[in-house]
Subunit: 233 residues, 2 copies
């Protein structure tokens, strides 16, 4: 390595990884600063910065302002998941996409949902159940609440034409949100929606988004048996 | 906003979010460059860069070298998940941690696992089943294969004292890996390991890691009923 100029951030990253893997730089060690590494590798400091930041993002390095960069002692690996529009996820896999509206109503939600969305007592909001299909087979259904008092435009939308998932992403930007992944055992409702057997293990995503005025939406996505989310670490 | 100096990257981010949310900057629009925004906000260009990069990381902006920064038309939101050592995850929730080794053997793995780990025909590797407990209750079990030919040091470890999860994280750095999330329906084996009923929906993580010499490990983590992973978007 020494003596060979490193041209891009990927090769800087590989060299840093090699030094960590070979224990030349051990867990807890302070590594040379960006300027020193740039000089050693014969590359721009920004190139070193990008490589180190990427390794910090994956949890292998710990960077502190002024205190410098250390090899992580207990690396907490991070995985980044893309959360696309469901239509794009399905067409991206090469399947034909279809959306079917199952039901829509404006009602007072169950108490736990009203609390999660911080509604007023007896506040009625929009409840939509819809099914996303891939090549005609159930792929995921969404059981969604939309705060129609925070997002009044939602009252004029025809959700038999477009899924609320897609309409919200395109029209209502959010400032914060949370997402949770879990599993459930298919009961009668899930089995009917997804044309599967009761007792199947189903992958579940719960998601809520917020803007300054309050909760926009809270949705449970329940996927057909066999669904997997995959990413690199 | 105009006329008020913005001091930190969080307030730059908030102002950019406000402009996107109010549709002052619409999906697809090219936004002013870093130098222009730094001048408008009366802050350092690095401050603007950090705010824009953060919004790009969450999928709201699309940045291209030389072509500039645009408001994403179909924002693909990204969620980042921490993948800690299981012991740290359990103690971090305030539970007492215990690990129990269930079985260990050196055998030829099933064909699909041998293919995934790119083993030679009839190559024997280490198979370990272990249970992680929180306050004495089953939390997750790991069904793990370790390529003892790529990681020979593993042969001398006593896995009744330390879980392979923790030993590998601390001793065998990896250069690449993948992770998948899914659900399964508890069969007799899962129900016995987790002291739950057959037919429960269980959350599953499959993870494989690699170094230059080959696959290090491939593990399936099966969590007790009710497990959730939660993060912000």
């Amino acid at each position: 390595m020494t003596g060979t100029a490193i041209k891009n951030w990927q090769s800087v990253q590989q060299e840093v990884l090699n030094r960590i893997n070979s224990k030349l730089w051990k867990p807890g060690d302070l590594i040379p600063n960006e300027a020193q590494l740039a000089s050693e590798f014969g590359c721009a400091r920004a190139t070193v910065n990008r490589a180190l930041q990427n390794l910090a993002d994956t949890g292998l390095l710990e960077r502190r302002r002024k205190a410098g960069t250390r090899v992580a002692t207990h690396p907490v690996r991070k995985a980044t998941l893309d959360i696309p529009i469901i239509r794009k996820e399905i067409t991206g896999k090469g399947y034909a996409y279809r959306y079917a509206l199952v039901s829509t109503e404006t009602v007072v939600p169950p108490r736990d949902m009203a609390a999660r969305m911080r509604l007023k007592p007896d506040e009625k909001i929009l409840h939509i159940v819809g099914l996303h299909m891939a090549n005609g087979e159930p792929y995921v259904f969404e059981n969604r609440w939309i705060n129609s008092n925070v997002v009044p435009a939602v009252r004029d939308v025809d959700f038999s034409k477009q899924s609320p998932n897609e309409w919200l992403v395109e029209n209502i930007p959010f400032t914060s949100g949370d997402i949770a992944f879990s599993a459930l055992c298919a009961g009668a409702f899930e089995a009917e929606m997804l044309s599967c057997k009761t007792g199947e293990g189903l992958f579940v995503i719960d998601r809520s988004t917020w803007k300054a005025e309050g909760a926009i939406t809270s949705v449970r996505l329940v996927f057909a048996p066999g669904y997997r989310i995959h990413t690199e670490i």
